[in-house]
């Protein structure tokens, strides 16, 4: 498969160098693989750290900046970062008010962040982790690894980031992060797999007319394969899954997210169906995002995330933010 890279081994470092060159508001430590705000931590503010495998851009580095993350740790492609990175990040953003770790619910992320939190605590830094697990595709079971963290990660980072920016204490910032996670549900669909640079071929094969339902964000196969159907039917499957888990009502924030390889014109076709479905249930989409926010390299597909809003959450969503991927109010 053709990729615009120099070599599979240098993808992450080359990309980080590109991020550093493109965004003067970011400080990129290529050696340690940590992205922080160029201005450094804000005294007395809770620091927000997240991280995950590379290949999901703009998540997370693209969300570092005023009103959102203080630091992001990019791992190898689709591989969680290591405790060393997270410790460097945690120390860098510690401003005396504690540090929030926003952790997507994957075994690797959870284990590595756990190890890092222990190391940071040895340093005398208060670390509070929040786990994001909004994906409804994996069925609830006593024995599974639990639900994956997907699109709601963006919502958590924005809303918790806004509250932290106001100087709120860490317990409150952690609580609002957990609240956003609890009020959000997501479902993803893929038309194609994706190719990890070091692997050189697609992670799985889909036939000409097949789609993968209930995907995660790492090119891992989903729960169910089905025939390609018109957008409105695909959206119905996705939103039926969301709605049956957490009924859509009142004011909602919706993200129609491209997996990286889907043209914007198709995302808007999807959004139209999402809008009809949700208003058909008597709810109102009062805020939305349409675009690439949490991707899987060049995978064609989309995910939809629905968050039940409150006035307080809406206000935090509207608060000013200045990052490479989200910018308003400033």
């Amino acid at each position: 498969m053709k990729k615009l890279i120099n070599s599979p081994d240098s993808v992450v470092t080359d990309a980080l160098a590109g991020v550093a060159a493109a965004h003067p508001g970011l400080a990129v430590d290529i050696e340690n693989k940590v992205i922080t705000r160029a201005g450094g931590p804000t005294p007395g503010k809770v620091g927000l750290v997240s991280g995950g495998g590379s290949g999901h851009e703009p998540l997370h580095g693209g969300f570092v900046g005023y009103g959102m993350l203080d630091a992001a740790c990019p791992g190898e492609v689709f591989t969680s970062p290591v405790p060393d990175q997270m410790l460097v990040a945690t120390r860098a953003v510690n401003a005396g008010a504690g540090v929030l770790h926003i952790v997507k619910n994957y075994t690797g992320d959870v284990l590595n962040f756990e190890m890092a939190a222990e190391l940071a605590q040895d340093d005398g830094i208060e670390v509070v982790p929040v786990v994001v697990n909004d994906d409804v595709a994996v069925q609830d079971s006593l024995y599974t690894a639990g639900r994956r963290g997907v699109g709601a990660t963006v919502f958590v980072e924005k809303i918790a980031g806004a509250l932290a920016e106001r100087g709120a204490p860490i317990a409150d910032v952690a609580a609002v992060a957990a609240e956003v996670n609890e009020r959000s549900r997501s479902f993803g669909v893929a038309l194609t797999s994706c190719t990890v640079p070091a692997a050189g071929k697609p992670t799985f094969e889909l036939g000409e007319n097949e789609i993968e339902l209930g995907i995660g964000i790492h090119g891992e196969p989903g729960r169910h394969r089905g025939p390609l159907t018109p957008a409105r039917e695909v959206v119905a499957v996705a939103l039926d899954a969301v709605n049956s888990d957490l009924p859509v009502s009142g004011d909602v924030l919706v993200m129609v997210n491209g997996m990286g390889g889907t043209p914007l014109i198709e995302l808007y076709v999807i959004y139209n169906e999402v809008h009809k479905y949700i208003t058909g249930k008597g709810a109102r989409i009062t805020r939305n995002l349409v675009g690439n926010y949490i991707t899987s390299l060049e995978m064609q597909g989309f995910s939809v995330t629905v968050c039940q809003l409150t006035d307080a959450l809406t206000e935090l969503w509207d608060a000013a933010v200045d990052t490479p991927a989200l910018r308003w109010g400033r």
């Binding site: 591989t79 969680s80 075994t107 692997a199 799985f204």
Partner: protein, 211 residues
């Protein structure tokens, strides 16, 4: 078994992992995200570098350094799990300069306990535990029957390989494969496969030493 033996084991494990890298990655593509072979190969290369650069006078120090290196370099779930396994094994060996077969068995038990505590997996959930637990049991049994080192490790390696094969028919209840539910059945677990390779390397080094 002195520190040179343990360094040789890790070098052999690295060679085997590198040779089987694509196979492990393919196993991981079927039920995961296609990075297991790549990640472990990177980790074991880093172990070689680390062991070259640091003095490791005791078996315990070799394994602790190797484990810490995996934690720092691998990422994913494998870094903490394999890293913790080696660190716990190393700590169990204490300061001894020459580990006995019972010492080695105890260290592998400590490795298993570390993995199960961190990852909360039990046998039958289609993970590395399904190779490691049978290996530990087979090793203890062989020792109690008076087997020599190379024969005992041969039994352990066979049990690990059999355990890895047994994961084919299991449904994953942990890790990324668990998202596939029933579709994970029919595929060997990559973590069990790589664990079997690592135990196999231990047997190979012991058998070379015996002959």
């Amino acid at each position: 078994m002195d520190s040179a033996f343990f360094r040789a084991w890790l070098a052999e494990a690295g060679t085997v992992i590198e040779a089987q890298r694509d196979h492990l990655t393919q196993l991981d593509a079927a039920i995961g995200d296609a990075d297991h072979g790549i990640n472990l190969a990177r980790g074991f290369s880093a172990i070689t570098v680390a062991l070259d650069q640091a003095a490791t006078p005791t078996p315990g120090s070799v394994l602790i350094l190797a484990g810490s290196t995996l934690i720092s370099k691998v990422g994913g779930a494998s870094g903490p799990l394999y890293g913790m396994a080696l660190r716990q094994a190393g700590k169990s060996l204490g300061d001894t300069a020459d580990a006995s077969l019972p010492d080695l068995a105890a260290s592998l038990e400590a490795a298993l306990a570390g993995v199960q505590k961190l990852g909360a997996a039990r046998e039958g959930e289609k993970t590395m535990v399904d190779a490691l637990a049978p290996a530990v049991a087979a090793l203890q049994k062989a020792i109690s029957e008076g087997a020599e080192t190379d024969a005992a490790l041969g039994a352990a390696a066979q049990a690990a390989a059999d355990g890895a094969q047994a994961t084919i028919s299991m449904q994953a209840l942990k890790g990324r494969a668990s998202y596939l539910g029933p579709r994970s059945v029919g595929h060997e677990d990559p973590g069990a496969a790589s664990t079997a390779l690592i135990i196999g390397a231990l047997r190979d080094v012991a058998q070379r030493q015996a002959s």
